[in-house]
C-alpha cells in the first residue's frame, strides 16, 4: 500500500490514529523539552512543566486580577464565586464583549453586500470604494484609529470593522451575483417585489454561505481584536497575554492561548451546527 495513492481509502482506525498523531507528537515533544530544560535549569520559565502549568491554570481560574481585588477579599468565596471573579473569567468576558460587538457589526456588512449585488446603482456606487478599502491593511491605520476614536472600546471595534467588513461585503456581493438570474426572474413572475426578491429569494439562498464566510473570518476578527487589546487595553485575553509576556509567565500564557483556541473552536462548531440545523437543504461544495 502506497501512502501517495490517490485511490486509497484509509480505514476508520487509520483515520483516527493519523488525525490525532500530530497532537500526541506535539504534547510528547513539549513535555520532553520541558523535562530536559528543567534538568539543566530547575527555575526555567520558558517551557513550564505539567505541575507549573497546573499551578498557572489554578492561578488564572481561581485568583482575581491583582489590580482588581486583593486575594484576601476572595478567600472565603466558593469555587464558582472565585472563578467568577478570576482574571481568566473577567478577561474572557471583556474579550467576548468586543468580539460579539464586532460580529454584530458584520450583519450590516452582509446587507450592504446583498444590496450591492441586487441593485445595480447601489453596486456601482459602493464597489470601487469597498475594493479599495479592502486593500487597506487594518493594522496600519491603528494609530489613526487611536487618535480618532481614543483608546477605548470604540477604536478596537472599529479595527475589527475595518479589518473584516470589506471581506464580508465583497463575499456577500459575489454570492449575490452568483444566484442564477432565472431565480430572480422566477421571483418576479410569482409577484415578488424588488425587496421580496432581495430578502425572500436571494438572501435566504446565500445565507448559509454567508454564515460560512463569517465563520471562516472569525480568526481574522480575533486577530484584529487581539491587536487592539495588546496595544491599548486594561482587560481582555490579549491584554493579559501581553502583560504576562513581560514577566515570562508562560505557565499562564500557554493555558490562555489554548483557552482562546478552545473558545474559537466552540463558536466555530456552534455556527456550523446552527447552519446545518437551520438550512437542511444546504450542501457544502
Amino acid at each position: 500500500m502506497s501512502l501517495l495513492n490517490v485511490n486509497v481509502k484509509p480505514s476508520r482506525t487509520a483515520c483516527w490514529t493519523l488525525s490525532w498523531l500530530l497532537f500526541a507528537t506535539g504534547i510528547v515533544l513539549y513535555f520532553y523539552t520541558a523535562q530536559k530544560r528543567h534538568k539543566e535549569n530547575p527555575d526555567d520559565r520558558v517551557v513550564p512543566t505539567l505541575a507549573q502549568l497546573a499551578a498557572g491554570i489554578y492561578q488564572a481560574a481561581m485568583s482575581p486580577d491583582g489590580d482588581e481585588a486583593p486575594a484576601a477579599q476572595v478567600q472565603g468565596q466558593s469555587a464558582f464565586g472565585r472563578f467568577h471573579t478570576s482574571m481568566l473569567w473577567t478577561d474572557t468576558v471583556a474579550s467576548s464583549r468586543r468580539f460579539f460587538y464586532g460580529l454584530a457589526l458584520l450583519f450590516p456588512a452582509v446587507l450592504l453586500g446583498l444590496h450591492m449585488g441586487i441593485f445595480p446603482y447601489f453596486g456601482v456606487f459602493f464597489l470601487r470604494f469597498i475594493l479599495f478599502f479592502d486593500k487597506i491593511i487594518a493594522l496600519s491605520v491603528l494609530p489613526i484609529l487611536f487618535i480618532a476614536f481614543g483608546i477605548d472600546e470604540l477604536s478596537k471595534v472599529m479595527l475589527i470593522v475595518i479589518g473584516v467588513t470589506p471581506t464580508i461585503i465583497l463575499d456577500t456581493f459575489n454570492l449575490t451575483k452568483g444566484v442564477p438570474p432565472e431565480q430572480l426572474v422566477k421571483g418576479f413572475t410569482l409577484g415578488a417585489s424588488d425587496f421580496d426578491v432581495a430578502y425572500r429569494v436571494v438572501l435566504k439562498q446565500i445565507w448559509p454561505r454567508v454564515l460560512n464566510s463569517i465563520r471562516l473570518n472569525l480568526k481574522p476578527l480575533m486577530l484584529f481584536l487581539f491587536a487592539g487589546e495588546m496595544i491599548a487595553s486594561t482587560d481582555g485575553l490579549a491584554y493579559r497575554i501581553a502583560l504576562l509576556r513581560r514577566h515570562m509567565g508562560m505557565n499562564i500564557i500557554i493555558p490562555y492561548v489554548l483557552w482562546v483556541a478552545f473558545l474559537l473552536f466552540l463558536v466555530d462548531l456552534t455556527m456550523r451546527l446552527l447552519n446545518k440545523k437551520l438550512h437542511p437543504w444546504f450542501r457544502e461544495a
Binding site: P180, P181, E182, Q183, V185, K186, G187, F188, T189, L190, G191, A192, S193, F195, D196, Y199, R200, V201, K204, Q205, W207, H279, P280, W281, F282, R283
Partner: protein, 288 residues
C-alpha cells in the same frame, strides 16, 4: 409569407375588451443586437412582428444562437429589445410580472424551500409583505396556501409526501412538475417555458409533454414553448415559430410562422417537419 413577418390572420383593428382574435402578446418590429467586446454589434433578431392570441400554444424552434430564448425573455420582460416594442394586453412590458409564468430549463425551483414552500411562495408574497408575514393572519392563511399547493401537487402527478422534500431530493422530471405547479398556482395569462424538458430523459419527457398539453387544454393558458426539438414542437403546439438565419447573411434571424395541422393528417405533419428542417438547416426531427 414575408420573411420576418409573423403577423398572422389577426384583425388589424384592436378591439377592447379582449376577444379571442385580439392578440394577447404583440411583438412589433423587434430588433435585438448585442454589443461585442471588439466594439461591433451582433444582430440576433431582425424586425420580428408576431401576434399571439389568447389560448394559443406556440412552439419556438430554431438553431442554437438564433434567438429562441431571447424571444422568450422579451415576452418575459427580463430583456428589452434594441428596437421595437413588446405588448401584453396592449401594455408595453418593462419587467417580469405575475401575469407571465416562467419555467426555465435549470434553476426552476428555489433550493432553500420545500416543494410546498416553492408552490406557496407566490401566494405568500402576493398577500404578505416582509413585515406582515409574522402576523397570526399569515399563519392562518398559510394553512390554506398549503392546501392549495397540495391540490396542485396532486394535479401534477406528484405524491403528498413529496411536499416536504427539497428540490435536490427530486428527479429532474419531478422538479419540472413542481415548477409548472408553482407557475400555475398564480393563474398566469401566459406560461413561458424555456427548453423546460431539454434535460429530461425521453420517457420522462414524453410524460411531461402529455402533462403540459393537458394543463393547456384544462386552463386555456397561452403557452410559449421554446425547444430545439422539432418533433416536440409539432407534437405540442398549435403554431410553430421557426427562427432561421437571415438569407441576407447579416447573421441575424428571421422567423417563419407555421400553423400546425391536426395530428391525424400525417402527410401534412411530415411535410411541415420537412419544411422546418429545411428552414433551420441542420436541425432534424429527433424522436422525443
Amino acid at each position: 409569407m414575408v420573411p420576418g413577418s409573423l403577423t398572422s390572420a389577426a384583425p388589424a383593428v384592436l378591439d377592447t375588451p379582449l376577444c379571442e382574435d385580439h392578440p394577447l402578446i404583440r411583438l412589433e418590429n423587434i430588433h435585438v443586437s448585442y454589443a461585442l467586446k471588439d466594439g461591433t454589434w451582433k444582430k440576433v433578431l431582425n424586425g420580428i412582428d408576431l401576434d399571439i392570441r389568447p389560448g394559443e400554444f406556440i412552439s419556438v424552434v430554431g438553431q442554437t444562437g438564433c434567438g429562441k430564448s431571447t424571444l422568450l425573455r422579451l415576452v418575459l420582460g427580463s430583456e428589452m429589445p434594441t428596437e421595437g416594442s413588446v405588448l401584453v394586453e396592449d401594455r408595453e412590458i418593462r419587467r417580469p410580472d405575475r401575469d407571465r409564468g416562467y419555467v426555465p430549463q435549470k434553476y426552476s425551483l428555489f433550493p432553500d424551500k420545500t416543494v410546498s414552500g416553492n408552490i406557496t411562495f407566490g401566494l405568500e408574497v402576493e398577500e404578505f409583505s416582509l413585515l406582515t408575514r409574522f402576523t397570526p393572519q399569515f399563519y392562518k392563511r398559510r394553512r390554506e396556501f398549503r392546501a392549495e399547493a397540495m391540490r396542485q401537487l396532486i394535479k401534477m402527478g406528484l405524491h403528498e409526501s413529496d411536499a416536504a422534500k427539497y428540490p435536490d431530493q427530486l428527479s429532474g422530471g419531478m422538479q419540472q412538475r413542481v415548477a409548472i405547479a408553482q407557475a400555475l398556482v398564480m393563474k398566469p395569462k401566459i406560461l413561458l417555458m424555456d427548453e423546460a424538458f431539454s434535460a429530461l430523459d425521453p420517457g420522462t419527457r414524453a410524460g411531461m409533454q402529455k402533462l403540459i398539453r393537458n394543463v393547456w387544454k384544462e386552463t386555456g393558458t397561452t403557452v410559449l414553448f421554446v425547444t430545439h426539438n422539432i418533433a416536440e414542437a409539432l407534437h405540442l403546439a398549435t403554431r410553430v415559430i421557426v427562427l432561421a438565419k437571415n438569407p441576407d447573411a447579416d447573421g441575424s434571424c428571421i422567423a417563419l410562422d407555421l400553423p400546425v395541422p391536426d395530428h391525424e393528417f400525417a402527410g401534412d405533419y411530415a411535410a411541415l417537419a420537412a419544411r422546418i428542417e429545411q428552414a433551420t438547416g441542420h436541425m432534424r426531427v429527433d424522436a422525443s
